[in-house]
Symmetry: C2
Subunit: 199 residues, 2 copies
């Protein structure tokens, strides 16, 4: 189904359709939304895409996204530089930040080891992690996702760091707060039982 | 929650968040997707927005979207110019086209009368519809949405056209094909009963 062969519109629909979680109907709705924007709004949108792409790059230390040399966390002198939390994506780092509990720094791998998708250790920012380890670093927290890929990545990095004498920890598995035991899957429940704490 | 104050990224997230049906989390996902695009892909996307906005305007006859003077339907000599199907949006016209049953032309109102949203007859392309009616036009099919606003708009236009001696029809109400009587609402079912046909 084409939009009557209005080429610029079809092109825009196509662009939206490529995005994750956007199907044809939604892409169409978004394209029509763009057409109904004011001229300046559409230009702002167009510029925002170009600018984000041009100005944003990786932080020299932690590989998080930033428009400056260092990201705000690495720039912040009050953050505890002796702890590094290793996450898969910038969004994972944001999720950790939103707890307001973590005062250390991050390291963004930009993915996880996944042989099925042809992603090996060399495709991740693991070299960058190793090279920033110095005598100041006391602990590396593996906060990769609780998936097969995330676990494999955590194991891989742990095996590299252990011989260097660095303490490596992993986020606790268990039932989510506010969750319902009835709906927790078996594996999670087994892990929660295994990791039970004295009250 | 901000993306660590990476200004260009926040700006892009904001842009996506304004779009219909896009919440904060989705906007974030889309913005990261844009960041992960190749440079040329991002530029193509940026250009597509700008171009669509610059090149697309209303067809001189039916007010549908087009990048030429007339839309493909109005340009097509084999379409039946004696029938005009009045719809609310370009997407409604596309939906009609996708039936492959309709051989007439369209008229796009670009909305429906809605006093609650402060949209009156003057905000729609009704003047444009009246001005294109000539002795060749035999029938106007009201295909506005089966909602209060769509019905009101159909009624309003019907009252304008009837005195001009033009046949005005409305799409049939009834149960959707493949639907389930049990789940049909009362009003639809009542209309389906009212409009029942001899077998």
């Amino acid at each position: 189904m084409s939009s009557y062969n209005v080429a610029p519109l079809d092109k825009l629909v196509e662009q939206f359709e490529k995005m994750p979680g956007i199907g044809y109907k939604t892409a169409q709705r978004l394209a029509y939304y763009v057409l109904n924007m004011s001229k300046t709004d559409a230009e702002d949108f167009s510029d925002a895409i170009r600018e984000a792409h041009e100005k944003i790059h990786y932080c020299k230390i932690c590989c998080n996204l930033t428009d400056q040399e260092l990201c705000p966390v690495c720039r912040n002198e009050r953050r505890d530089k002796s702890v590094i939390c290793v996450v898969e994506t910038p969004r994972d780092a944001m999720a950790m930040e939103s707890t307001n509990e973590y005062k250390g720094t991050y390291h963004i791998l930009h993915g996880a080891i996944s042989p099925l998708n042809d992603i090996g250790p060399d495709d991740l920012k693991i070299k960058e992690l190793i090279s920033r380890l110095n005598s100041d670093v006391q602990e590396v927290i593996m906060a990769t996702n609780p998936t097969v890929e995330g676990d494999a990545t955590a194991m891989y990095i742990t095996r590299l760091l252990k011989p260097m004498g660095i303490r490596v920890t992993r986020l606790a598995y268990g039932i989510p707060v506010g969750g319902d035991l009835e709906y927790a899957d078996q594996v999670t429940l087994a892990r929660a039982l295994e990791g039970r704490n004295e009250l």
